[in-house]
Each structure stands twice: as structure tokens, then as C-alpha cells.
Symmetry: C2
Subunit: 311 residues, 2 copies
């Protein structure tokens, strides 16, 4: 199934307790496309400045990512810098320079308009809808969002949510969006805003799916060494959507598998700075980790307990 | 398999955002035994004061919990009071009155000494070893501990750990014990202290097993309404050990199932104040929730990904 994604292509500056890395590969679309490209062809919609490194373009093209919808504009590429603390939890955002992203108006090439699967990464909800208006009834529209839009553009976001099938959002954002501190109640409240399926990303605590079939909870692949969590969420979404595209099914059973794939892909991203680890792996490593994940989570059904005969 | 457990029988005073409850049923041994009693006969070692409510004794006896090893001493029963915040996370301890527990010297009745499974709840590590010295080579010794002993009686705890097979401990305590902030590395460090198996309790984030076969990660059963988390850890241990006793096996496959049972039992405890919910359930409700848990966590194996033919 054809897959189109819109998001940012960026240069990140990342500080962790181990050191600082300047202008490394980043952006939601970059992580998403790299991850999805192990499973399917992805077509990107994004904007880059005239300073955007040709190496990234070459790398993505080499992975058969279609960049026809990526506009090269005059000005600077989107830049973000953030700092992680010792716990490697949510980073502190130090600086955001929108650059050419400030006046981004996504225009989809004709070849994108019949996409069966669409992913709207975390960008302005008005732009997310702008993309949706240019595609012809896809089978599945998934989207992400963040605090900034939940707090600053609530009504635009509400319109977007009414038009997506699957919201992929992190735990804190789900609770903020639902104004509800209990995760289960938050997920159900978000479903009432439009998306029939909601995936809550919980970092090292795994992912939780709410859909028509009920709940699915998948723990995270445990890591002994967290190098850089940047892009883990977009890597997850890329693995998930890429897997659905390759499976050519979007039912609940396939979605559960896709979440497992997404989680495994994200575990590689977190093991390296920027995209360093993710772009170095091959399908053998993915297959190996999927096998490990299965053994990590597998248990035999517990026989039905019998009532004890009490005196 | 016969099961002996040592721990506290207590009266708790619990404050949550919904209200305050004075002198309700509590204590690690009480939660453990109630949970295990759905699966097997449990023999308790504990001490109570002359003010201990006969209703609790009657209830446990009615569930075929053997109280021969429970001493009734002159003085007050152990009392604990704690307060939960809005997030229902770790409670603030307000007061601990040891009462008769202060001079507790566990003495095992002869009928206990051949126990195949032993659980040492969170008490002074010297007392835990005192119990161990009175049993004849059990098949599995499991124990719990807490910050208070990790920080205050490190060398006594080290001796206990060298003599247990399975440590069941919460995440914060595991990291404190291992002096390691990464969960995976903390678990492996704890294994090097003695126990060949370590289970880390992570509350709403589930449980993680480290054993000879590798890792097993089980998410928590999600709850829309958390009433009182007190005793969830001991309920987990009780379900786990009770299930092992009834299955008559302690291999890794059975231990995984036992963790699922323990998690399901703990989910009932958390749904009510004190033991109110747990002691009201029947095996049908346990069976139903075990089924729900299976569907919550089940996914089909992901087919091995094929390398994409890139241009």
C-alpha cells in the first residue's frame, strides 16, 4: 500500500550527559522515512533550506524514499536544539529555529494523491489538514501532535482529530489533551474526539493501543544503554506505518504486529546518536530483535483456576 | 507444594484524595495470604497484638490459611499510616508503630519446616534469615525488601540475598540496591548479589523478570480507577507463589504464568480500599481477568522482514 508522510526535515543539536552534537540529522520526516524504508517505499512531503546537507538527500534517495514532495526553499533548514538530563527522559528544548518551515505550505505532487496510508507528523494542525485535503480517501490516516498545538491551537487540532483514524501520541500529551490524569480514561476520552484508534507512546514503559477491538499493551524492548531518545516516536510511527504498508492490511491484528515492529525500530534509534544506529542496521538485525521481543513477552495461557474446597 | 510465608499482620490508616480510613486490614502477610489462598493452602508466620480483630483471623481461617505460626503477644498490633497524593503513586508514610513487631522472633511450628516454597516479606533481613534457618532446603525461597533495609542494614541484607533464589522488589529499590539508574543494568547487578531470579515490580508499568532464561516483561492490567495501591506488591507475590504451589513446578515457563497471575491479583487489590475488593472476588472473576489479560497482550508473530531491493 502506498504511504505518504508529511513532517520536518531538520538539523538537531543534542546535548546529553556524554557530550554535545551539533547539526546532526534530524526531523520527524527523516526518522519516519528511514524507519519505514526497511519495509516499504515512502513518499515525503517536507521543506528544507538551501543549507540542507546533500548527504541526507542521497541517503534517503538510496533507500528509495521519494523526495518529489520535498521543497527546497531559500533560507535555513529547520533547526532544533535540546538537552537530556541524566535520566534521559523528556529533553529540555533549548532553541527552535523554524527557518523555511515558517512559511511552509505543503503541496502534494500528483503521484502522492492516491496514497492509501498517510502519516501526519507533529506539525501545525492546519497544515496537517491542508495535506489531508490533497489526498483522495486514504484507507488510514495517522497523526501525531504535541503540547504546543494542544495548548495553542486547540480548535484547529480538534478539526484535524475529527478527520484522522489513528492518533499516535505520547502519554503526557494524551493526558493533557483529554484533561484526564488516568491513562485508560484519557485514551477513551481521546477516542471520543474523533480517532477510532489511539496509540499512547510511553517511552521505556511501552505502548498502549485503544481500538475497536479493545486494548493492546506492548512493553518496550529494554535497553542497557540509552544514547539519544530523539526521534524514537517518529521511528516507531515509521516502523508501524511501513509494516502496515508492506502487510497490505490495517486490521487490528496487523496493527498489533505493526506496533511491535515500531517498538523494535525505535529501540535501535535510541541506541545511537541521531540516526547513526538506525541507518546502520539491516533486516537481519531487525529479524533478530523481533525474535528476542517475542521471547521477552511470551507466556503460556494460564489454566482456568478451580475454586478451592474450603472447610 | 507447601507454602510458608513470614510478614506483618497490621492495621493500616490510609488517606487518599477521596478520604481517610482508620485501622483497616493490612500487613504484607495478610495481603500475601489472601491472594495465595485462591490457589493453595498457605502457612503464615507473624505476630499480632491482643487488640488484633478476630474478624481477620476468622476470615483467613475460613480461607484455609494456617495460622499456627502466628503468635499472639501482649501489646498493640503493628500499625502503619500513609497518605496517597492525586497521582496515587508512592505514599507518604505518616506513622509506623511497630508494637508487638518490635520484639518479634519468628518460630516455625514443626509442620512448617518441610515447606517447599518460602516467601519472606519485607521485614528485617536478620529475621528473614532466622526463618530460613528453620526450614529444610526448600525448592524456592523468594523475598522482598525495602529502602529502609537497603540503606540501614546493608550487610545483613547482603547475607539474606546470598541465600534466596528469587528477589521480588520494586523498581526504585532495585536501582537503589544496585546503585544503578538503568533498569536493565540494575537487574543484572542484583542477580550478582545472590538471587538467580529477580522480579522488578513497576506498578502501572508492569513487571520484569530476570532469570536463567533471559528476560520476561509483562505489562500491568490497566485500571480506570485506582482506589488504594496498598498491598499490591504483596498481593502480586501471593498470587505468584500460590500459583507456583498449585502448579507444582517452578521452571521459567511456570514462573512467567505465575507473574501474570500475580499481576491480575494485584489489579483487584488496587481497585478497592484495603483488602475490600480482593477478599470479595471469586475464581470466576480471576479467570475472566486472566482471559482479558491474554487478549490485552497477545499478538501474532511478525513474519521475518525481507531486504528490500533498493536501486
Amino acid at each position: 500500500m502506498s504511504l505518504v508522510a508529511v513532517g520536518s526535515m531538520a538539523l538537531d543539536s543534542i546535548e546529553t550527559p556524554r557530550g554535545r552534537h551539533q547539526d546532526v540529522w534530524g526531523g520527524s520526516a527523516t526518522y519516519f522515512a528511514t524507519s519505514a524504508s526497511f519495509f516499504t517505499k515512502v513518499s515525503l512531503v517536507a521543506v528544507v533550506g538551501d543549507d540542507f546537507p546533500v548527504e541526507i538527500v542521497d541517503f534517503l534517495s538510496g533507500r528509495e524514499v521519494c523526495l518529489e514532495g520535498v521543497e527546497r526553499a531559500r533560507g535555513s533548514t529547520f533547526r532544533w536544539s535540546g538537552r537530556y538530563g541524566r535520566d534521559m527522559g523528556d529533553p529540555e528544548s533549548l532553541e527552535t529555529n523554524l527557518g523555511v518551515f515558517e512559511h511552509f505550505k505543503p503541496v502534494l505532487p500528483d503521484s502522492y494523491r492516491q496514497a492509501r496510508l498517510v502519516f501526519l507528523a507533529n506539525i501545525d494542525p492546519d497544515l496537517q489538514r491542508e495535506v489531508l485535503s490533497q489526498v483522495t480517501r486514504p484507507d488510514l490516516v495517522a497523526c501525531d501532535t504535541m503540547n504546543f498545538w494542544i495548548e495553542g491551537k486547540a480548535s484547529a487540532l480538534a478539526k484535524t482529530l475529527a478527520n484522522v483514524d489513528l492518533l499516535i501520541i505520547n502519554e503526557g500529551e494524551a493526558k493533557l489533551l483529554a484533561e484526564e490524569s488516568n491513562l485508560l480514561r484519557a485514551g477513551h476520552a481521546v477516542m471520543r474526539m474523533g480517532p477510532k484508534k489511539v496509540i499512547v507512546k510511553r517511552g521505556e514503559n511501552g505502548v498502549l493501543l485503544f481500538d475497536e477491538e479493545g486494548l493492546f499493551s506492548a512493553p518496550a524492548y529494554p535497553l542497557g544503554d540509552v544514547v539519544d531518545p530523539t526521534g524514537a516516536g517518529d521511528t516507531f510511527a515509521g516502523g508501524l506505518m511501513g509494516y502496515l504498508a508492506s502487510a497490505r492490511r490495517i486490521d487490528s491484528r496487523t496493527l498489533r504486529q505493526a506496533m511491535v515492529v515500531g517498538g523494535v525500530m525505535a529501540s535501535f534509534t535510541v541506541e545511537g546518536m541521531s540516526l547513526d544506529r538506525l541507518r546502520g542496521i539491516g533486516v537481519e538485525e531487525i529479524a533478530e530483535r523481533l525474535k528476542e521481543y517475542r521471547s521477552l513477552t511470551e507466556f503460556e495461557a494460564v489454566p482456568e483456576p478451580r475454586a478451592r474446597r474450603l472447610a
